[in-house]
Amino acid sequence: MAKIICKNCKKETDSEKFSANLNVCPGCNFHDYLSSRERIDLTADSGSFIELFSDINSYDFLDFIDLKPYSERISEARNSGLSEAIITGTAQIGGYDTALGVMDFNFLGGSMGSVVGEKIKRIADVSLEKNIPLLIFSASGGARMQEGIISLMQMAKTVSSINRIHEAKIPYFCIITNPTTGGVSASFVTIADIILSEPDALFCFAGPRVVEQTIKKRVPSDFGLAPRNLKNGQIDMIVERKDIRETLISLLYLFTTN
């Protein structure tokens, strides 16, 4: 039987047992990567998710070539079965209608380019039109450098879209998953009404390596991790993967019935 080695405690687990435990190590409770599709299945009421805006696609408008052309990176990423770094749609969670965005680190490091920005804008529009709460699961290394300044502008674009949600007094919750850094941290994530974080999620603006280069010192081992972020007042609560759905249902109950 196939085995998975936990990235944290290095203990071996049967891969079936590991995935039955939601990709969480049964030994040390380390929360490993979970795909956006699996996350939707885990969060939404069975069969309730309706995907929207799946046919908005990235293209290489700057002719950006580093070690590989951006166009090649896009098609390689698509081979993984994902169409972009975020899936958007509507779903019911515990019977509550919601607009949902779920990012996926496996598509170009979850980086935010024009498509991620546009999909967040459109799912915010859906949330406004239907007057239903907006939930976003974040997972991103930051802005998509291959889209240059336009990726930086997506920070402003998504903040503006969320601002319209704020104005309409529609609840917006964000669930931070590993990792959430850079331009995504410093835009739509940190202006949520309530911020949840999975255990073991790295959440920061500048990553540990960049900080180490600047201050010429090692950063503490808990740098950017959920317990430190909770202590520093940057997140509302740490919620284990198995409890996220129930926590969201409680929040939806509090915020939508009054």
Binding site: N57, E147, G148, M155, G183, A186, F205, N232
Partner: protein, 324 residues
């Protein structure tokens, strides 16, 4: 002959070009045996090398602008404030815990109208640079900016921002005090303002730390300033895994005023005195003053403009994608 041409190539292209040469050598051997010509392949290699040369030339040209944008003799926010606004009063502190002097914020008069002014300041000599933290802000700096935006909104003062920062300060204490949230809340506050906002990119526009103060209705950009999602050095070390190719990264990022105007991110390029703003700072400041006054006057006359909505529409329409 090809070897001679290769000499002047940047290191990052050498490997690829050598591969081509190797192929041609192989083809030559085949020709000796089989009589197949390799002229096509040789032509292709020559074209490739010409293309590398062109990229190299463009990269060097872009790099000159990157260097100009960082030139410490360029006029800085403090110089613009001194010459443009009368009776300027700077304010301090985030009212929570700190004063971050990398951002200058306050109020002054322009054409008899009170305006709020916020800008990053890098400093010129070493003492100043340390005082201003090289224009790299802590969360407290962005929170001070938000405080001044609040006052501007309350009293109806138009807001003018000057952008000149290598980026938000990437330090442990900045992270612990919520750098990400400080930036996003600054951006958010700018979207909430009903007063007009004019932004001038005067030097280095480094990433989120620059954007935090740059959500304007009208974006002016000095000819030799830059605005980028990441520094060329940072981009090179992440994507090329080699910080020495920063010049290539600078070219690829499209961070110059001409690129950004073409992409629709800036509204107007302000041309600089010959050779760059550092050659004639007084003249540069005067030119900028003229533009800021003319746009401010236009905004003050247009009573029906919804500046808040205008900003939302402007930024929410930015993006390039295929929508089938």
């Amino acid at each position: 002959m090809e070897i001679e041409k290769l000499k002047n190539l940047p290191k990052s292209f050498l490997k690829e070009a050598m591969g081509f040469l190797f192929k041609i050598e192989k083809l030559r051997k085949i020709k000796n045996i089989s009589g197949i010509s390799f002229n096509e392949a040789e032509k292709k290699l020559t074209e490739k090398i010409d293309n590398y040369r062109r990229v190299e030339r463009e990269a060097l040209r872009t790099w000159k602008i990157v260097e100009l944008s960082r030139n410490e003799n360029r006029p800085q926010t403090s110089d613009y404030i001194k010459s443009i606004f009368k009776n300027f009063i700077a304010v301090s502190g985030d009212r929570l815990s700190h004063e971050d002097s990398s951002i200058i914020a306050g109020f002054g008069k322009l054409k008899g109208k009170t305006v709020a002014v916020i800008g990053h300041n890098k400093g010129k000599d070493l003492k100043q640079k340390i005082d201003f933290n090289f224009g790299s802000s802590m969360p407290q700096g962005y929170r001070k900016a938000v405080r001044v935006m609040d006052i501007a909104e309350k009293f109806g003062f138009p807001l003018i921002t000057f952008i000149d920062t290598p980026g938000a300060y990437p330090a442990l204490e900045a992270e612990d005090q919520g750098q990400a949230g400080a930036i996003s809340n600054c951006i958010l506050r700018m979207f909430e303002l009903n007063v007009p906002v004019i932004t001038v990119l005067i030097g280095e526009g480094g990433s989120g730390g620059a954007l935090a103060l740059a959500v304007g209705n009208y974006i002016l950009m000095l000819e030799n300033s830059t605005y980028s999602v990441i520094s060329p050095e940072g981009c090179a070390s992440i994507l090329w895994r080699d910080s020495s190719v920063a010049k290539l990264a600078a070219r690829a990022l499209k961070l110059t005023s001409r690129d950004l105007f073409k992409l629709g991110v800036v509204d107007k390029i302000i041309y600089e005195p010959l050779g760059g703003a550092q050659n004639n700072p007084e003249r540069m400041v005067k030119i900028v003053k003229g533009y800021v006054i003319s746009i401010l006057m236009r905004y003050l006359r247009s009573h029906n403009t919804d500046f808040r909505k205008n900003r939302a529409e402007k930024y929410e329409s930015i993006g390039f994608f295929i929508d089938r």
